[in-house]
Symmetry: C2
Subunit: 300 residues, 2 copies
């Protein structure tokens, strides 16, 4: 594991410099610069590196969560002493891939003051008047925070591409813009962790039908979801392009098979844990005289 190296951000990418990633990161990362990505080569119902089954995943959860919450507290604590580092978890995936559920799972038990959640919807009129990264910059986590994006600037090379929301030469230029942006975040001490929740076409049908079966879930259903589903192949191609062009050492993409919720939760939690362990945040040392403070307090 990389050691805390002062207050710079040069470990912001979460990758030990020179060495490749280890652990689950190595297994799920889209290797940067390796050319075309074929999602057909990834099986949404697979469980790479995971526990043998759901029961085992649940059994290991409390200890893992305790460690995660401890690391979040330390990250928050060290920012109070001036350390700028923070984490940005980006969740992308087709409808019903479980972005909301994953978000809820990984942040459970954390100190809410140190968590910054942002769900990106269709841009507002004001947002459309600005460059596409404008609204993203405004939602970035600050020092010590864990930011979680439910959708992100990647929609600007996903739905924007599939639905022709902007001309082809506009979205084709965005991959480089995104890479530069994410490199600048890493330079500033932001560990950018990008997750593609990969579900199958069949699993999506099953989950959409389940929403229709439960009146309490009708509010989550939008008839537009069926039209989006009809564009499945185009979306898969758009994701492949984003994974190929924007998985970098500074901000790697991970493909998380997401047909099994228990594996998805385990995998995202584990990836976040591994990135936090690379940061290795530390409680700041007291910058005051502890004994003198104690004496003063006891005199009150």
């Amino acid at each position: 594991m990389a050691k805390h190296e002062g207050k710079g951000g040069d470990k912001g990418s979460g990758n030990g410099s020179g060495n490749g990633p280890t652990g689950l990161r190595a297994l799920l990362r889209v290797p940067p610069g390796r050319g075309p990505v074929a999602l057909k080569a990834y099986t949404p119902a697979s469980t790479p590196g995971g526990p043998p089954d759901k029961a085992a995943a649940l059994a290991g959860e409390p200890a893992s969560r305790e460690r995660l919450v401890d690391l979040q507290t330390r990250l928050f604590a060290q920012s109070t002493a001036g350390d700028p580092r923070c984490v940005l978890l980006v969740l992308q995936g087709m409808d019903t891939s479980g972005k909301g559920g994953t978000l809820k799972h990984v942040t459970a038990g954390m100190n809410p003051s140190g968590v910054r959640v942002k769900a990106f919807k269709a841009p507002t009129e004001e947002e459309r008047e600005h460059p596409f990264l404008w609204r993203v910059r405004r939602a970035l986590p600050g020092p010590g925070e864990i930011g979680v994006f439910d959708r992100s600037h990647y929609e600007d090379v996903l739905i924007a591409r599939v639905r022709d929301l902007v001309p082809r030469d506009v979205w084709t230029g965005r991959y480089d813009v995104i890479n530069n942006f994410e490199q600048s975040l890493a330079d500033d001490g932001v560990s950018v962790v990008k997750i593609f929740l990969h579900i199958s076409y069949e699993k999506q049908r099953e989950r959409l039908l389940a929403r229709l079966d439960d009146p309490d879930k009708h509010w989550k259903f939008d008839s537009g979801d069926i039209e989006e589903r009809a564009l499945w192949p185009a979306y898969q191609r758009a994701y492949e392009a984003a994974l190929e062009r924007c998985s970098t050492d500074a901000a790697p993409w991970y493909v998380v098979p997401a047909d099994h919720k228990w594996y998805r939760n385990w995998a995202v939690r584990t990836l976040l844990l591994e990135h936090l362990e690379l940061i290795d945040p530390k409680y700041p040392v007291a910058d005051f005289d502890v004994e003198r403070s104690r004496a003063r307090l006891l005199a009150t």
Copy 2:
């Protein structure tokens, strides 16, 4: 209990019109317009209306939390159909009164996308250039959200008054400004729930000493905390003035005895629950043809 009355905000105050509050609200509320408040009359170690002991409080927690999370989900769901209502929980109290711990406790298990947490620190230079409510307006919860303030605009009649940060005639004018502001929030469908976490002078000493005893908690300690503590009587008077002048039907103040963490958590969770039950949020009814959507999906 008040019934959902369409999508207006006239129940935003969380008080049944004409009838006084019931439940724990009745017990802990500072009655509006009753003149001077004496904090000495409230016992920080008391447990009014609470379970008999900590074990009983913990035993009842899961069911209460389940209900709270269900209500939060409904509140969020109904906002997707245009209902503007939301909740703003304001937490105030002396250092170590447990604002952060309470915040973490009441939001646990909630969907983080529907929770908006804001911790107010000493105002930045930019914030000081604006009226004192400016930064507060920017942090308000949106429709369907539960906002939680860790400190708030009340600091502008607390530390600002005790520390003479502004002239007397400035802070004396702020009580009415705050009341008008909170009335306007209630008019817009915001249920404003203001909690004063009331601890004893002795309990604060004990908790500050505990921070000094644990090196992992030194980052939470500030030598300035001891200077603030020296101003305890002035802060109590400032709180009494805020409770007296700003407990209104539109936005009541509650005094929660907070020497016992288990009672404090139970009481704030229960007050939030009661206010949500007054809103009585409902899942929106489907605005699409469920059977037709099912048939279309099955054809894909």
